[in-house]
């Protein structure tokens, strides 16, 4: 009677809310995360629509050679470089490369790391020990040194740089996912799944991984920021993408480091671009971390 109704209405009040939607709602309430998303969005837009946004081509000489390149002006917002190219246009086109490198490097690190981490965590025992000890070995080498080593081994080139930076991050992803999988493996719902007769691989793929992957996603965003800095750093020491005409932020910094005295803008603007993009990605990552934390109440 009325009691049954009360119970029914109690259940009917709210519309179903999925967890990912809850995370999205939480993310939207976080002003820092929104700011980060706006920054990253602007850079993405820049990368995609570079030819439309940039007033000149990246390698178009508009001012002619000059030993003291002119600084910012109404016509050239960020000034010109020593070859007379518009710095603003080069930075806009440079966003393509930085974002691409960040994305591909993370993709490489994430996919390999996920594979190894899931394998180690789920199978346990000897496989686990073997995988994790080799990961420890890799972790013992300073990451930048390792990246330098891999690039020298693979030779210069955009792809090589991306792969090198990605490989360096594999142990971090593997380690994090393994821990996360181990925690999930012990949980009751996994036991419940086994009790029902869900095959082991299916339990891993469709139950454990979706629950374990939250922290890894956060790490991925943060790693992307690091990757962008590292590609800049590799370029800085001369191990960046081979084609010297490619507008790459790190290379711009490296080539003009000696010009701090008479052309600050050549270092200032590329540096600013790197910092801003990394900041934006970090803000999004931090926001995600909070939003995905199931311990926080809704």
């Amino acid at each position: 009677m009325s009691i049954a109704q009360a119970e029914a209405t109690e259940l009917a009040i709210e519309r179903p809310v999925s967890l990912s939607r809850t995370a999205l709602v939480r993310l939207r309430r976080n002003p820092a995360a929104i700011a980060g998303a706006v920054i990253v969005g602007l850079f993405l837009l820049m990368a995609v629509a570079a030819p439309l946004i940039a007033p000149y081509g990246p390698n178009e000489s508009v001012g002619g050679l000059a030993s003291t390149p002119p600084g910012p002006s109404a016509q050239f917002w960020f000034g010109l470089d020593e070859q007379g190219r518009d710095l603003f246009s080069r930075i806009v086109f440079g966003a393509r490369l930085s974002l691409l490198v960040g994305f591909v490097a993370v993709l490489v690190g994430l996919s390999l790391g996920l594979l190894l981490g899931a394998l180690a965590g789920w199978t346990g025992g000897r496989t686990d020990a073997l995988v994790m000890r080799s990961m420890d070995l890799v972790l013992a080498i300073p990451p930048f040194l390792l990246a330098v080593g891999i690039v020298t081994l693979l030779g210069p080139g955009v792809l090589q740089v991306m792969v090198a930076i990605g490989l360096v991050t594999v142990p971090q992803f593997a380690r994090l996912l393994r821990g996360s999988v181990l925690a999930q493996k012990e949980s009751d719902y996994v036991l419940a799944g086994r009790a029902i007769g869900v095959p082991s691989w299916r339990l891993l793929l469709s139950h454990v991984l979706p629950n374990a992957i939250g922290p890894v996603i956060v790490l991925a965003t943060l790693t992307m920021a690091t990757a962008i800095i590292e590609v800049a750093a590799l370029s800085f020491i001369g191990l960046g993408p081979a084609d010297p005409s490619l507008p790459e932020w790190g290379r711009m910094l490296a080539e003009n480091a000696s010009r701090l005295q008479n052309a600050v803008h050549l270092v200032l603007f590329p540096g600013f671009a790197v910092v801003l993009l990394v900041l934006g990605i970090n803000l999004v990552g931090d926001g995600l971390r909070e939003a995905l934390d199931p311990k926080l109440g809704r």
Partner: protein, 346 residues
């Protein structure tokens, strides 16, 4: 007398204690279950009672091969469960299901209810598409959840409702045996009764056999036909529920019964209290002889600390593992020190 659905003989689950990470040396074992024998009859509810560390949960899980037994035999409807491998075992799981204590952690938070309840049917290839939806709706009805619950997620439900979801999952495959491990102890008092009644209702409608594991003797007394009492990995007494509660033979069962609070001040004021000394010993180093002798108020100078008592039938259908059960019952052996010495006496 009905046939036995499950027969457990001398079941052992020892967890190795390892030191060292890569090579690993075994330095000892936690004897979580150490020689348990029992049978569960078709259609009955066997209650398995014990305190923490008694091995009751491990026994239930080992029976379903959710932990690997290190010894003994488990026969389910004539099939040797411990001999099954891979796909055969997975097939058998259709017939033996489990209900968990914590309705919060035993449901994957990222799946909606329809998905959770339908999962057993999908993984065993029993139903899909429209048929699956129909069956899920039937199951939701069966456990008293509204039909629109299917599209919602576990975190939107109260504890009692989640336990209903867990029950729907457990009975989805129309199993013969359900192992219910503390199914109501995480629930509020007023909700417990709802779930207990539902369990009884499902048993009748679906012809279920239950192994009901709990620490709460009053609850077990209410649902079980027979009760087995566990202490430190072994069964110390097994009898019909009225016999075990009315005429317990093992000193531990007596103490356990007397420790259960009864919600009636008049009864509480006059009842006998046996207060045990000390704590439950570690299952990694169980005491020699009778495992209960370190806390037993009836401990004798001989046999108790040297000889392991066998589970023997003292009355028809009433088995107990105590050397002195008859003498204690007849009053020829009295408790030594009044065990209530712990209480500060004014």
């Amino acid at each position: 007398m009905t046939a036995d659905l499950v027969v457990v003989e001398d079941l052992q689950v020892h967890f190795p204690i390892r030191t060292g990470a890569l090579l690993g040396r075994t330095t000892g074992a936690v004897r979580a279950v150490d020689g348990v024998s029992l049978s569960i009859r078709k259609g009955e509810t066997l209650g398995l009672v014990g305190e923490s560390g008694s091995g009751k949960t491990t026994t239930g899980r080992a029976l379903l091969r959710l932990v690997e037994p290190t010894g003994g035999r488990v026969t389910f409807d004539g099939v040797d469960v411990l001999a099954l491998r891979g796909e055969e075992l997975r097939k058998l799981r259709r017939r033996m299901q489990m209900v968990f204590q914590d309705p919060y952690s035993s449901l994957n938070p990222r799946r909606n209810v329809a998905n959770l309840v339908g999962e057993p049917l999908r993984v065993h290839g029993i139903a899909s598409g429209r048929a699956l939806d129909t069956r899920v709706t039937e199951l939701l009805d069966l456990v008293g959840l509204p039909r629109n619950a299917g599209a919602r997620y576990p975190h939107e439900f109260s504890g009692g409702q989640r336990q209903r979801i867990g029950l729907a999952r457990a009975v989805a495959l129309d199993p013969d045996l359900v192992v219910a491990d503390e199914p109501v102890s995480a629930l509020d008092v007023s909700i417990q009764a709802q779930i207990l009644n539902l369990l009884g209702d499902l048993q009748q409608r679906l012809d279920l056999t239950y192994l009901f594991i709990a620490h709460d003797l009053a609850v077990v007394r209410h649902v079980a036909d027979r009760i087995a009492v566990m202490y430190l990995g072994t069964i110390v007494e097994l009898a019909t529920a009225p016999a075990l509660v009315g005429r317990p033979l093992h000193p531990y069962s007596r103490a356990l019964l007397s420790a259960v609070p009864i919600p009636d001040p008049r009864v509480e004021a006059v009842r006998e209290r046996i207060i045990l000394r000390g704590d439950i010993p570690s299952p990694a180093a169980p005491p020699p002889g009778c495992r209960f002798h370190t806390r037993c108020p009836f401990r004798q100078a001989t046999r108790c600390d040297t000889e392991i008592p066998a589970l023997r039938e003292v009355r028809p259908g009433h088995t107990v593992a105590c050397h002195w059960a008859e003498e204690i019952e007849a009053g020829r052996i009295r408790p030594a020190q009044p065990a209530a010495a712990l209480a500060a006496d004014g």
